[in-house]
Amino acid sequence: MLDIGMDLAYLVAAVLFVLGIKGLTRPKTAVRGNLLSATGMLVAVVVTLIDKNIVSFDMIIGGAVLGGIIGFVVAKKVQMTAMPQLVAVLNGFGGGASLGVAAASYLQSLGGAGFAPGALGVITVITIALTVVIGSVTLTGSLVAFAKLQEIIPGQPIGFPGMTGFNGLLLIGSLALTVMLAVEPSNTLYFWAAISLAAILGLTLVLPIGGADMPVVIALLNSYSGIAAAFAGFVMGNTVLIVSGSLVGASGLILTNIMCVAMNRSLPNVLFGRMGAVSEGAGAGDEIYEGKITSASPEEVGMLLETAQKVIIVPGFGMALSQAQHAVRELADAIERNGGEVLYAIHPVAGRMPGHMNVLLAEAEVPYEKLIEMERINPQFDDCDVAIVLGANDVTNPSAREEKGSPIYGMPILNVDKARTVVVIKRSLSAGFAGLPNPLFALDNTLMVFGDGKKAVVDITTSLENG
């Protein structure tokens, strides 16, 4: 009876997770959705604690208190600009937890009743081995992603020739060890060797990927952490783990795909491509810009904005780095007081992870209705009086639309150049991540405001309000 009750409680937990994610489909219901999901977690934990197989609580309480305190402090302290790092490291812990569960389960089977004879035992061993392999790759890969984002290690690709082949060997090696362990389950050497190879694989998979591609990597590792949890569910024969692991796995895969489409790259290209022709077009910048750059002072832009009916702000991560979100919102407020309309154009890769820019602007109390995604904002540039580009570069580069030979040709961009006047606030004419010159800067309808982003925005606001 107790077992049935437990299974039903796990079902309740799984349903609450599904309803929780459903809540996330609308900003209005999202907070409630998150609470539903957390309630599901509480149900699952409480039910597990009354399991009759638990004979000692010291490790459970110790781990829960330690992990709970760390989680609490981190969630309270983390800066919104550092969310990608946090999600990266949480992906890793998710993989690490599944790794720990499967490893403990393996050792307990060895120390207890052993593995079932025949096919069932073989399947159990293979499932355990696959769980530790995925968990291990997720753990070390996520730590590298974290270190790159936190700039503990450089963001540039790190690697050596033949690295993809080396990774292939590591993958084959860990899968071969999985098979060998299935043949001889009691050989713990195979088991630890599989974990070690997978741990190295996690490192060497992520090290050669550049900092600009980290949004894809985080989304992919998010998916891995879910798959690892689902596999741990197969190991433990636990349905709630299988269901919630799959949900997370699906979520990560979808986000990975969205990011790849937004960068016009295939997943293999991101993982193994290592942007070859980066420096190629860099020298051509002078030629494109020569004599065609019109620069303007913040005061001139302020005057321009006085008569503007519709203004679209195009933020990039540079805006967040110079902590200019609040200044930008104040500028928007000033334009609105002046009778103009302000919208924000959000490119999918505007931040450092999916949806990051929205969070950064929401923190500055920009209403989410004004944050418009690329497909919906692009037609609106046609009747836009002034587009203000701040900290964004490659995602506004018209070469992606017009120049067939450009390395970024085909990448979806924001059609900023269609606006009546484009104001680009930037320190210099330097290139963005793609290393390419941006013909947008040389257009007749583009005004360049050179200088620190935050200061320029504040000066424009002052001049608009006093003008």
């Binding site: 997770f17 403990a104 433990m236 997370v248 979808i254």
Partner: protein, 94 residues
């Protein structure tokens, strides 16, 4: 074997459900979605609790369980709290 088949079915169906649900999440909420799924993947705390509370595998297995409980608890507590913090920012003013 039948149980395994049932589990695999569950895995596939849950994946499909996940795809259906998550394609409906607007880009505005993708960051909270990721931290929220971090929290959900902390469900491995269930397996971790069972592993840490079982003495069959000796000390090493229990320490593995301890590590798993710690990692999963960080995900659960940190994931839900930070998601809530972000979502509250979206709710404000609206």
């Amino acid at each position: 074997m039948e149980i395994l088949l049932m589990q695999v079915s569950l895995f596939v169906l849950a994946l499909l459900l996940g795809v259906e649900l998550i394609t409906k999440v607007p880009p505005t909420l993708h960051t909270p979605l990721m931290s929220g799924t971090n929290a959900i993947s902390g469900i491995s705390v269930v397996g971790a609790i069972l592993a840490a509370g079982n003495t069959d595998g000796g000390e090493l297995a229990r320490w593995m369980g301890f590590v798993a409980v710690t990692f999963a608890s960080i995900n659960v507590v940190g994931g839900y709290m930070v998601t809530n913090r972000m979502l509250a920012m979206f709710k404000r003013k609206n």
